[in-house]
Symmetry: C2
Subunit: 229 residues, 2 copies
């Protein structure tokens, strides 16, 4: 069993102060509410800069969570229900991804799904099974302490101690309910709040690896040590 938390993920609806910016007049005129639009640097770059969003370099990249999830949920480990995946966002929302869920490869469909989830707090299948669940105001601490309850918390970060994927997997394998934490943001580091919960912090490469690559490789090595194939 492995828990994966994608932390401080750059996934949120557009803040009101950004929505009000003149450059987004067309979007406002379309009749959409800010809660119905994902903040996205591709579309809202100037409005983001002009509205002085805090830590804007860590935000507005919903595509990152999409690619990480496509890599995590297509693995054998997830398919046999041995991987639990949580998306913790920059605004302390937490998405719990249930077993056997597949998310759309099409980004447009993923965006629609997430907006539906943000609005309704749940995505339920035709058979009434909950596929995705969103909790508002669930901090990283609360997610760990009241929900996952891991026996080891390992963060992956460029400023950790060097250790390769194989050795990290061997270490995780010693525990019953390990939790691995990867940043879901484009630039910068974990906040102090996240850092304070990491019992170990490892760096995997001298090259700065993107989160979807890190997640893929770690899950693969964890499968190997568990003889899953």
């Amino acid at each position: 069993m492995l828990n994966l938390v994608i932390a401080e993920t750059a996934l949120e609806t557009i803040p009101v102060e950004t929505f009000r910016h003149t450059s987004l007049k067309k979007i406002r005129n379309s009749g959409k509410k800010p809660t119905e639009i994902l903040l996205d640097r591709t579309l809202h770059h100037f409005a983001i800069l002009s509205s002085n969003l805090k830590q804007d370099y860590k935000r507005a990249r919903p595509d990152i969570s999409h690619i990480i999830l496509l890599n995590a949920l297509a693995t054998p480990l997830f398919k046999i229900n041995q991987l639990k995946v949580f998306v913790h966002t920059i605004n302390n929302q937490v998405i719990k991804i249930k077993d056997n869920v597949r998310i759309p490869k099409s980004y447009a469909r993923y965006e629609g799904l997430i907006l539906d989830l943000i609005k309704n707090k749940k995505i339920v299948s035709k058979d009434g099974i909950v596929l995705l669940e969103l909790s508002d105001n669930l901090s990283f601490s609360d997610l760990l302490q009241t929900y996952i309850k891991p026996d080891i918390i390992v963060g992956l970060s460029i400023n950790g101690v060097f250790k390769n994927f194989e050795d990290i997997s061997k270490e995780l394998f010693q525990f019953k309910n390990p939790c691995i934490v990867v940043g879901g943001f484009p630039k910068g580091h974990f906040s102090e709040h996240i850092e304070s919960h990491l019992e170990k912090k490892y760096s995997i490469s001298n090259l700065s690896l993107e989160a979807h690559i890190v997640v893929s490789r770690l899950i693969y090595e964890f499968e190997k040590i568990n003889n899953i194939n």
Copy 2:
């Protein structure tokens, strides 16, 4: 050095017979030409079914190539110029991806880039460096025989002989210019033309793995055997 060919990739502009379908009236009225639109099942599903496209189950999934490329081009192997990547499409177009190229994580930007490439046959940087190049009417044979000239061609397919990623990488490592072939389509198998060029054909898992997972894991094992990290 490793060559990666993504073969028969579901990447093409919308065929005229599909473009003419009544369900796509809005798109036609927008003034866009069929050569300015990628065929996409998310948007053109009914038109695809109604226009009786040949082998439609293998087509209309441009998102697949995007995700495979995001996984291949973010690897250390590609970053140190030891991985050459070619996208061979279902219509015998070939995209040559030059060293150090990064493609956008945003699907909308990727789509724009590919349409620009299809139109202009090249994407050139501000400094005049060719980043992507598209050849029309370059068959899989021609790509291999006149361009890549590999000393071994290995295909990965669910109907191959079982071999794990580590052992495939060890085998590839014996050669100077090996070529690995992965399908860039959602369902079905390689065509007979592709099959006839594969010197070895391996299956990696009892579970059907998606192409982006296969590509990630193979590149990672190839890096390990080459001591790249």
